[in-house]
Symmetry: none
């Protein structure tokens, strides 16, 4: 069953608000295995709203419209549905009574302007919602179900979960379930991963594969559709196994296992505490390590040695004639571990930009010191100051992970 | 001139990410007075992408497409543009050379799969972006400008501001100009500000006023439309003067003068250096202070004393039986100033949550120490861990600003 979402509101076109309703509904539909091919956004203009509804009716089995069903002058979804379907507008005294009752149940008198909500395309059913004052509508026309939802997220969400999804499931009969697994990787480029997955990517549509890049990590999403969740995961499993065997220890986590979570699990398994010694990232690595609740159990603290004098005096760096190099990073990690009394320390020095510092802008050197070993690695990132700093944080966390699982890199 | 935005990506349909690109672009277009009637979202399917492009070309003067121009198999925007326009796909050795040069300028060798980005619909021009590795494209076909933008927000945004908007403005010729002034405030609530501006808000549509709240700051945007930029600013000025006189020193900056920039200017004027001593914010205050290029001129460094033992040993806090209090924050600021050899230090301690620490979750105590005076202030924020930490950073920067302009708060 194909479902299309239309969001109505000039404020969406002007970028004054983000269309979070479409993603909320999209996720609810995907979870139940309904298909979605398109979404549309249109301003508060009756003709154009009608145009989007006609287009959606021509290519979907159900259309979910959000916004434009309140009691004011610019609420024109009802009129647009009439224009798109050719249905007459009706006033229902019965619905007016339902509305009056809704208000009086809450100890209030309905404002007269709300009577507009008893107007509806012929044959429409009211969908009452306890979250607000605008009831939804459902119209069954020409084998297409048209749902009109309020634009207010909480009201919309209630109706989607309690009314729209059950009705769609009824009509669709048994539906399929969509399940997905997210494999999180670090250390290989997006194009490199895509190259090595090319045959898998092309050979299968169920399960299907997608690549997502963010903050220096590449995520591989494997999605399958089946009658039950268990069957969907059965389809996912062989592809997941194959991907994992090709990518080895580049895969560091699954689903919601972020690198921060993985690191905390590893530190906890070793009974280790951790500390940071940062220059170019200026506190961002420590901020990442303290972003999770309960981080005080393993995180001791950190030193931000932005000035070279602090690198020498606090961290024991012997020579700061140059600071973007492996020796400095190793000494910072060792010195930070000692000063802060931690089992493990991670250090970052480098050239964030925009001006180059000793080495080309985007150069970063990350050091890790554990009770077993101390080692640093020089990396390079393309991008502006913010992107370079973000990438340095991710790299620092990932190199610490590699050290904790005993996979030290080649010097 | 009518512009239509198409966002490509199955992850948008599935609700895995929100279509923030569309609102970013929508806002940028609205600011320059371009019209938008529709937006579309479509999955990674060549035929359907081509369908959306055809539809948009039929009703808009320019089409902005985001996503699907990376180097992987599911990047099919180029193919879809060819299908929609009937243009041939070409491989340009010249563009391949530009791409290779782009990589080699950054000291790296281009992965072979990135050569796909030298493929383009006949007649397309590359739009290089310094933020990442996927160049945009612009195609002038049948009196319609088609822009292909990367899906990564930072890269997309750069190209929109530096390339797309100027090209659209060139084609549109002179239009009415929209100018706006952003007044940045801190220390008063949104409803308090809205109440005190109510008469101004209601009395005028040109200039118009809008309120934006983020990270504890309230921004007031005054927007005017006129034939020239100078005339628009003439309309803005009287309202700006009135707003400023009502809000006094709550207004800390204008337009792109973030609190970080304002602080750096103040530090520079005093010839002061700064340092941080953080607990609950775990490095975020230092990260904010090092986010600007050239921050090393005033920023010495910081201590993250997450563990109480470090508060005592490094910062000289005398008693850590309790740590979420004014005494601890003042000693942290003083101790940080001394250890790090800075003229000014700012400290943060508190209860970020989710579990309360000594005081209710959301309590924060911020200390500022300057050569003249040392003082702390307890604040409270409602929200989750992330929101509380963000608000603590903003508050720390703002209290430091107040100290630097001699407006110490009442104890």
């Amino acid at each position: 069953m194909i479902v299309e979402i239309i969001a109505i509101g000039t404020e969406l076109l002007l970028g004054q608000i983000v269309n979070s309703n479409a993603s909320t509904i999209g996720a609810a539909l995907a979870e139940r295995g309904f298909d979605a091919h398109f979404q549309q956004v249109v301003g508060d203009n009756e003709d154009r709203v009608a145009e989007t509804i006609k287009l959606a009716m021509g290519r979907a089995d159900a259309v979910i419209i959000t916004g434009g069903i309140g009691p004011t002058q610019d609420d024109l979804t009802r009129e647009a549905v009439c224009a798109a379907t050719g249905l007459e507008m009706e006033f229902s005294e019965e619905y007016a009574e339902v509305l009056r009752q809704w208000w009086s149940d809450r100890g209030r008198v309905m404002p007269e302007s709300n009577l507009q909500q008893a107007q509806h395309p012929a044959g429409a059913k009211l969908l009452m919602n306890p979250k607000g004052t605008a009831p939804g509508l459902v119209i069954d026309h020409d084998d297409t179900l048209i749902f009109c939802m309020p634009g207010v997220p909480a009201e919309m969400e209630y109706l989607i979960q309690h009314d729209v999804i059950p009705r769609l499931s009824d009509v669709a009969g048994e539906t399929a379930v969509l399940a997905s697994r997210l494999l999180r990787t670090w250390g290989r480029s997006e194009s490199d991963i895509a190259d090595s997955m090319d045959d898998l990517y092309r050979s299968s549509t169920n399960p299907s594969m997608a690549f997502l890049a963010s903050g220096g990590e590449i995520k591989i999403r494997i999605t399958a559709k089946a009658a039950t969740e268990a069957e969907a995961y059965d389809l996912i499993e062989p592809m997941e196994t194959e991907v994992r065997s090709r990518l080895g220890s580049s895969v560091f986590g699954v689903d919601d296992e972020t690198i921060e979570r993985v690191m905390f699990r590893l530190l906890d398994e070793h009974g280790y505490t951790i500390a940071t010694a940062e220059s170019m990232t200026g506190g961002l690595v420590a901020a990442a390590l303290t972003s999770l609740p309960g981080s005080s159990a393993v995180m001791r603290g950190g030193i931000i040695a932005y000035d070279s004098e602090l690198k020498r005096r606090l961290l024991g760096v012997t020579d700061t004639t140059t600071v973007v190099d492996v020796e400095t990073a190793e000494q910072m990690a060792l010195g930070g571990r000692e000063l802060l009394g931690a089992d493990v320390a991670v250090s970052v020095t480098g050239s964030a930009g925009p001006e180059p510092l000793e080495k080309p802008q985007g150069t970063m050197v990350i050091g890790v010191s554990t009770p077993e070993h101390t080692q640093a690695k020089e990396l390079r990132m393309v991008g502006d100051r913010e992107r370079v700093r973000t990438y340095a944080v991710t790299s620092a966390l990932h190199l610490t992970r590699l050290a904790l699982i005993g996979k030290w890199w080649k010097p």
